[in-house]
């Protein structure tokens, strides 16, 4: 009898490795979308395992909004060098200039929407037919319905009503010319699975995930780092706080969490006792409407 039991992290790891190997086998030009956050870092470590001793058979692609944390950029460069991966960086800044796009305005003007333009251009430039992304289904309710192999049309659009049935662990990656597939190998991981895996595998993280002093302002109960990318108002009070980041996105739309946690164990303990969701605590871009993520995905976002 195959009545074997394996630990849930081992099972999730096996599933993710299986998906990565399918991607490498089924597509001619796959790429791994790397953001510098813990989910995409975990993906790189899974890819190392999946193809070891061979190098990772796809490049790391970073869509740089220009609003990143310097620590995440430094980490990115060091990781690519250490894993001998090819790193492709494309800047939203350049897309804005070349395509004469309008920069969003406002206090926390986010280039999150504009990222999609640069991503689609990059896919076209390198003729990527599959892009591996670190999205998880537990993050948000539109993500909960997305397939592991998510077919996008030439505009990168997701059509939730035309998704292919995904049976057992059989992944149909066949596409027409111009289409591409977003592949989500860690779909079935939860936030705490990722943290536990990082601890189990001793994966180093950018320093901003741990408690450090930072100059912030408080906005509707959330702490936003003072940076050249946000517009301060007179009513804003600059504060020095001990904070860490629970997710790492753009400086304009990622909030910090007050914390003294200096080690991975302390961070995990804090998250386990937190009663607020990851996106709820740290993202200020999902709050606008009930369907904010659904809308962005339909328009080519990952």
């Amino acid at each position: 009898m195959s009545d074997y039991r394996i630990d849930h992290l081992k099972e999730l790891e096996a599933e993710s490795i299986y998906i990565m190997r399918e991607t490498a086998a089924q597509f001619e030009r796959p790429a791994l979308l790397f953001s510098g956050g813990k989910d995409s870092i975990t993906m790189v470590y899974l890819a190392i395992k999946a193809f070891s001793p061979a190098p990772i058979p796809f490049p790391l692609v970073h869509i740089d909004t220009g609003h990143n944390f310097q620590e995440a950029l430094d980490y990115r460069d060091a990781l690519a060098a250490r894993t001998r991966s090819r790193l492709i960086v494309r800047k939203v800044e350049d897309t804005i200039r070349e395509k004469n796009l309008t920069e969003p305005r406002g206090k926390f003007a986010s280039r999150n929407w504009l990222q999609t333009h640069t991503l689609l251009d990059t896919i076209e430039e390198f003729k990527f037919d599959a892009c591996l992304g670190g999205a998880r289904r537990d993050e948000e309710k539109a993500r909960a319905k997305e397939r592991i192999f998510s077919v996008r049309d030439e505009f990168g659009q997701w059509n939730p009503k035309l998704q292919r049935p995904e049976l057992w662990n059989i992944f149909n990656g066949r596409i027409h010319k111009g289409e591409n597939v977003r592949v989500f190998p860690i779909s079935n991981w939860t936030e705490i699975d990722v943290w536990n895996y990082i601890r189990q595998e001793n994966i180093p993280l950018p320093t901003i995930y741990f408690s450090h002093e930072r100059e912030v302002i408080s906005h509707e109960g959330q702490l936003i780092a003072v940076s050249p990318f946000i517009t301060l108002e007179e009513s804003d009070t600059r504060l020095i706080k001990k904070v860490r980041y629970r997710t790492v996105g753009d400086m304009t739309c990622t909030a910090a969490v007050e914390s003294q946690a200096k080690t991975l164990n302390e961070v995990i303990e804090e998250i386990l006792s937190s009663r607020i969701s990851e996106r709820g605590e740290t993202r200020i871009d999902d709050k606008q409407t009930e369907a904010a993520m659904e809308d962005r995905k339909i328009n080519g976002y990952f």
Binding site: D7, K10, R21, A50, S52, A54, P165, I170, N172, S277
Partner: protein, 422 residues
Amino acid sequence: MELLRLITAGSVDDGKSTLIGRLLYDSKNIWIDQIEQLEKISKTRKTTQIDLALLTDGLRAEREQGITIDVAYRYFSSPRRKFIIADAPGHIQYTRNMVTGASNSELMILLIDARQGVIEQTRRHSIIASLLKIPHIVVTINKMDLVDYSENRYLEIIRDYQEVASRLGLPDVHFIPISALGGDNVVNHSSNMPWYEGPALLPLLEEIEIRRGDTLEQSRFQVQFVLRPQTDDLHDYRGYAGQVSGEAFKKGDAVRVLPQGLASRIAKLEHHGKEVEQAEPGHPAVIHLEDDLDIGRGDLIVRAGEEPLVTKSHEAVICWMDEKPLVTGNKYLLQQHSRLIKTAVREIAYRINVNTLDHETGIEKLELNQVAHIRLQTAGPLAYDTYEQSKATGSAILIDETSNRTVAAVLFLHPQAVDSTH
């Protein structure tokens, strides 16, 4: 901690979304901001109570129509287990979504409305569970509050369902009387039904001894990807990457590579780049063979003497999943995990009525959501086990080559006639 993948079956009216919401809420797997959002939405819709069902609504179209269209995945955990719920719609027009959700599930929570008892939909969901070999069924008899928590009504429904279960040969069936709305017997034992002495739903899900569907006692390894780094330091490296199913492989094992029938021996096994003596089922591995053979993606490595079926003509149960009907004689691509091969549908032996299990013959076409026993011919020999023996090697999908859509789920059966070519 163990992982349990389960599917919930039942329609909106049975309180399925409310049950899932209740499981998440009472087991404290909901974040404060999600509750606040629910309160906000409930307020704008002028309902007084928090509607737990809203927790599981995903897409805008679904919220607007108040129905579930697609499979959604929910995650929650207790100190003992991590659960992945495939939340699939229950109406007959969504049979394909239910089959999709059921394909990876080890347990089905089947909802029955205590007022209605066993209905056509209950039978259909049970038939899907039996076709897809879901090893455990937990029948939750919901809305007990609306039948005055009557033990007699509960026992009556159990008797009716046991008839269904024994006809289908369902191996492991449990019953729980619940009220999802009130939270009775969901996470905590209900004081409204002192006559029920069994566990509440969550404790049962935590304690049930999970059986994987497979009964295969033989070692299988399908090649997913050939690792040939061709770097300076790994110039002659050639390993086959894949995942072991059935039983473990050991270094030195005599093997056969199918469908070619090539013989060799395992020279080396690797797991995450480290050499190991044994490659365990459910884990990724890289196999090196002693001989330099022509092996590629999709080939099946098995232990010598444990060969599965290798044939060009196949019998299978399929569930049709496309708007375009299946027409006898049409050609499709068959994807058996990493093996892709052209196939033609030779014959529809009979259609299976998913409400009654009756066999309907004389069928030339299969429509969306219909299930049938068919005969297939592949362009070359294919190595597989029956679905009953192994989900890992006994399942496949059909792909429409023109639309690239996944059009059918394929569950291999034992062929009655032996292929003369092998």
